[in-house]
Point group: C2
């Protein structure tokens, strides 16, 4: 198992070297170039992906053809379409790399078997779901209640890496605005 994943598991579960080694066999290292897809809309999600290096995003395309980005995962985060992974239904979202990326993939069935059988994996899954809950609670109130300038300032404060590493087009699709509006807001901020 990649050392990044080991330290992630260790931090959350306190699991020892032996247990970590036993879990290692379930993960397969995979390399994806920038702008490639790990999952497309309509496909059933087959794996849970841990980002060892690089960056993934989850997004969907609405009927008008507009991309909406729901989640951006940098190093040391799991990223997958859990909705498809849990239900076994085709995904309504894409998983795309935004940089050359190394992921550690675990198959759907292996993952859920381990959630049942291995307390450490159960705990990691709980941690993922709890973190997702906390993040999305804030995100819903943000999308519902704040204007685009507030959302931009909040993202700048919370996730400055996003602005250093990703193009405005992606940031705009995360904030739920057009690249035009993002450009205008950035100009306003400089004044």
């Amino acid at each position: 198992m990649h050392s990044t994943l080991k330290s992630y598991f260790h931090e959350i579960t306190g699991a020892g070297e032996e247990k970590l080694a036993a879990l290692a066999q379930y993960f397969v290292e995979k390399h994806v170039k920038k702008n490639e897809w790990l999952l497309r809309e309509g496909e059933v999600c087959k794996c849970n992906y841990f980002v060892a290096a690089g960056c993934l995003r989850l997004y969907s395309v609405n009927p008008a053809g507009i991309e909406n980005t729901r989640y951006i995962a940098f190093e040391k985060k799991f990223a997958t379409s859990f909705t498809s992974l849990i239900t076994g239904q085709p995904s309504m979202e894409y998983i795309q790399s935004l940089e050359d990326t190394t992921v550690l993939a675990i198959a759907r069935q292996d993952f859920f078997d381990l959630v049942e059988r291995e307390p450490a994996v159960n705990k990691v899954y709980r941690h993922i779901l709890e973190s997702a809950y906390i993040t999305t609670q804030k995100r819903i109130y943000d999308l519902q209640g704040a204007d685009s300038l507030h959302r931009l300032k909040w993202l700048l404060a919370q996730q400055p890496r996003v602005f250093e590493r990703l193009p405005g087009k992606i940031i705009a699709s995360y904030l739920g605005i057009t690249p035009y509006t993002l450009s205008r807001l950035k100009a306003d901020l400089k004044k």
Copy 2:
């Protein structure tokens, strides 16, 4: 334990009568009148609430004084500010009854102890978090990508109960629009 909660646990975990009885002791029945609060902004959330009868909502008030409703829970749903319950930090949201409501409350510490100790409760918690994940994924794409008429039609299709039981003011605050706009959209739908 209230029979509604028993059947909920049984459906998700398959637990037998004996186990259900053992878990029962941790839940306390509580009655709240319409428009009362179980939790206010700034308070630390102390319980997880199962709605046995009636209806709760989770909402926050933004700096402009506008209420935004994030979640509406009818019968047979757990509802709490998990963000506060998990982190132990003060809640940024309110829990309010929208009808005369009966809840079964379990204390924070009891709940998390049982999550660790009792596989049935672990499974129920996982189910709650997974359901929340699936619901909020759709909700984020909805708020980000769809206009208010689409959101209204979607809610009408998915949750018709909402329109039968709740005032337009609450529905508007759930959809992220003003009551004025909701009223106009309803008039448009009739044409």
